[in-house]
């Protein structure tokens, strides 16, 4: 097992989760819980892939994937922000709809054959750093580097800019934000849409960069839900989300790599000896998310930090309190 290669692949896989989680952080910071990430990722994955197949241009695929994810998220925005329906149920409906629609659109796409993917390259100088260079800056997809930039940029946007202040105000104290002239509805629409676009980008990152191809609902295979879980673990911070996403990606790659060698550290490999044991490896990432949720929830309880105060609550003008 080459740990460096595993970590490098873990970062690439983690980038998928990272995009989706950052998008969800933005929507939730505005007070809208969108559980439809899985559906939006699938739509982004299939639309991006189909575009790249038919035009031969993966960049066009990225654009259409983000638009498709954003458009789907607007459905959630209309139902929950304007019509004030339950955000949990609407998000579930979005996942059902996105999954079904993606499978309808993706019919026959699995036989599309090889397509041109987004470019991979190494960063000069940075790739020469010992340990970190070969893992993080060597022959990675451009999407991985976009991820590196997105995290600090999102943090800066949320915490250091005026629109970011409005975003937080809308998520924490919408009535006060409204009184100060911040458009609560418009802000929420905007960030739900951006969140949807990032979920679409996450889907396109799967099919156009990291794990190319269309495999029906298995293309995303529950990773949208893991991203939603990651947001809770990350306590709505982009940096923590990035750490969680890369860690999760590394664990997934590690569980895959552990199935191959006949011996590990000189001991006979139980996953090689008896293939059925590998199903316990498959459980590991999900168990890890559960553990992360427990730790995250406990820490949040202890420090009394947590979800944006207005998360999940429809805003009604003129209504006092909750």
């Amino acid at each position: 097992m080459d740990l460096q290669l595993i970590m490098a692949a873990g970062i690439a896989v983690g980038t998928i989760l990272l995009f989706a989680a950052v998008g969800e952080i933005l929507a939730e910071r505005a007070g809208v819980l969108n559980l439809g990430v899985e559906g939006m990722m699938l739509i982004g994955a299939v639309v991006g892939y189909a575009t790249a197949v038919s035009t031969g241009n993966p960049w066009l695929g990225v654009v259409t994937a983000m638009l498709a994810g954003g458009l789907l998220s607007l459905l959630h925005a209309i139902v929950t922000i304007t019509l004030r329906a339950d955000q949990v149920v609407s998000g579930l409906a979005l996942t059902f709809l996105g999954t079904g629609l993606a499978r309808v659109l993706g019919e026959g796409l699995s036989k599309a054959g090889a397509i041109s993917l987004l470019p991979r390259f190494s960063i000069p100088l940075l790739s020469d750093i010992p340990v970190l260079g070969p893992i993080a800056f060597t022959e990675q997809s451009i999407m991985v580097y976009v991820g590196y930039l997105l995290v600090p940029a999102t943090w800066y946007w949320i915490n250091r800019t005026r629109p970011g202040l409005h975003l937080r105000a809308v998520g924490e104290e919408p009535a006060a934000a409204d009184a100060l002239g911040v458009g609560v509805y418009a802000t929420r629409y905007r960030y739900v849409f951006i969140g949807g676009m990032l979920s679409g980008l996450a889907g396109a990152t799967i099919t156009l960069a990291v794990q190319p191809g269309w495999f029906g609902a298995l293309t995303v295979n529950g990773r949208g839900w893991i991203a939603v879980g990651l947001v809770i673990f990350a306590q709505w911070s982009p940096f923590r989300a990035a750490a969680g996403a890369y860690l999760f990606g590394a664990v997934v790659q590690l569980t895959l790599a552990m199935q191959l060698p006949p011996t590990i550290l000189g001991f006979p490999n139980p996953f090689f000896e008896y293939h059925a044991n590998t199903f316990f490896l498959e459980m590991l990432p999900y168990a890890l998310v559960l553990l992360a949720l427990v730790l995250g929830s406990r820490e949040a309880m202890r420090k009394r930090i947590g979800a944006p105060a207005a998360l999940g609550v429809p805003y009604v003008r003129g209504e006092r309190g909750r």
Binding site: L92, L97, I232, A300
Partner: protein, 394 residues
């Protein structure tokens, strides 16, 4: 800010409805279904399928003959049970999305009764089936208690927890059917002995030839009985009152001294147990063995069923039968994602339709506003009718 809203020449006015007439809710449900089918049909037409043929196919292959109706009831059996599981939990606003995993664990526990075996050889069929039923309930309940415990003890979001547990349960089943219980390396166990099969109507075919091929099994009766029991619990028992109060107003429930943590655990256990029985009914009544992928996502469809039934246990039955027909027909529909897509659209139309239940909805034309005056979304200056809306209906 205003640019977005300013683009629309009208705005929606929502006035809370104090009381809705009795027929409004069922009428809205029906209307939502119709709208959903129209939208789905439009999408089908866009992707090149013939919506009329698809719908006729659904009706024909699910209700076209006695055999088809029987097959529909077979499909609806696990849907009723998992639908009840969701309806019970959702009534308390406990989002148990894990009926699928609880179904799998129930199926596993019921299979263990036969395959380990947990009953001595020569045990009469009735006893075996009873033990399997209990094992199925306990298996599902145990799997449901995990997110219940995490939620009540650590405040862990039950949606994510149950979804993760679904994936773990899926891998768990695969471990057993590929590993210790495999039959010759195929992803299935050996067939159960006939004593462990739930009786079917076709078992009587020797006496009544007309019943040949009618595969509806006793699990359907179990599901109907379960619907009645859950109805008794929710609507007619003191415990059900606690569940409904927590669901409607958790703060009031807390002040009334109702143990919320205890109820979370109890509801998750019973909810999981119901889904577990669904798993038992599938392995004992339909596939007669444990195998990979025997559930086409019953536990997820159950979420929509519970919602469509508006969490009412008795209404779960007809809705589940409707979805049983959809799943049955959906196996042959191409593209294969169509049934899932229709389910999603139905759910969307349903929740969107609820706005009419909670509010009187009016469309208010907005007079053109100079951009400077439109700072802040829907400024009161636009029109008095578009101004503040007070209160939210029940």
């Amino acid at each position: 800010m205003s640019a977005f809203r300013g683009g629309l020449p009208f705005t929606l006015r929502l006035e809370p409805r104090m009381e809705a007439s009795r027929w409004l809710s069922p009428a809205l449900t029906a209307a939502a279904l119709v709208v959903a089918l129209v939208i789905s049909g439009a999408i089908l037409a866009i992707v090149g399928a013939d919506p009329v043929r698809v719908y006729l196919h659904i009706v024909g292959s699910s209700l076209g003959s006695i055999g088809a109706i029987s097959d529909t009831l077979v499909k609806s059996t696990p849907l009723i049970l998992t639908g009840l599981a969701c309806a019970l939990a959702f009534r308390m606003r406990l989002w148990n999305i894990g009926a699928e995993g609880q179904l799998l664990l129930g199926a596993w526990a019921a299979s263990a009764v036969v395959l380990v075996p947990l009953v001595p050889a020569g045990t009469p069929g009735v006893i075996i089936l009873a033990v399997m039923l209990v094992a199925g309930f306990l298996g599902g309940a145990a799997w449901g208690l995990i997110p219940g415990f995490l939620r009540s003890k650590f405040g862990v979001n039950e949606i994510i927890a149950t979804l993760m547990l679904n994936s773990i349960a899926f891998a768990w089943i695969q471990y057993w059917v590929f590993g210790p219980w495999t039959e010759g390396g195929f992803q299935m166990t050996e067939q159960f002995p006939p004593e462990a099969w739930l009786p079917r109507l076709s078992d009587l075919a020797d006496a009544i030839p007309a019943l040949r091929g009618i595969t509806v099994h006793a699990g359907f009766l179990v599901a109907l009985a379960a619907a009645f029991v859950v109805w008794l619990i929710v609507e007619r028992s003191a415990w059900g009152y606690e569940i409904r109060l927590i669901g409607d107003n958790p703060r009031a429930a807390k002040y009334a001294g109702i143990g919320i943590a205890r109820n979370i655990l109890l509801v998750f256990a019973v909810s999981g147990g119901l889904a577990g029985i669904a798993g038992m009914a599938e392995v004992s009544g339909v596939v007669h063995r444990l195998q990979d992928n025997f559930s086409p996502g019953y536990g997820y469809t159950a979420i929509i069923i519970a919602y469509l039934a508006r969490f009412h246990p008795l209404r779960v039955v007809p809705v589940a039968i409707l979805f049983g027909a959809l799943i049955l027909a959906g196996r042959e529909i191409q593209p294969s994602g169509v049934p899932g897509m229709i389910q999603g659209i139905i759910l969307f139309c349903l929740i969107a339709s609820e706005v009419f239940l909670r509010f009187r909805v009016g469309v208010v034309r907005r007079p053109p506003v100079p951009p400077a005056a439109a700072v802040g979304a829907a400024s009161p200056a636009t029109s008095p009718a578009a101004g503040p809306v007070t209160g939210e209906g029940a």
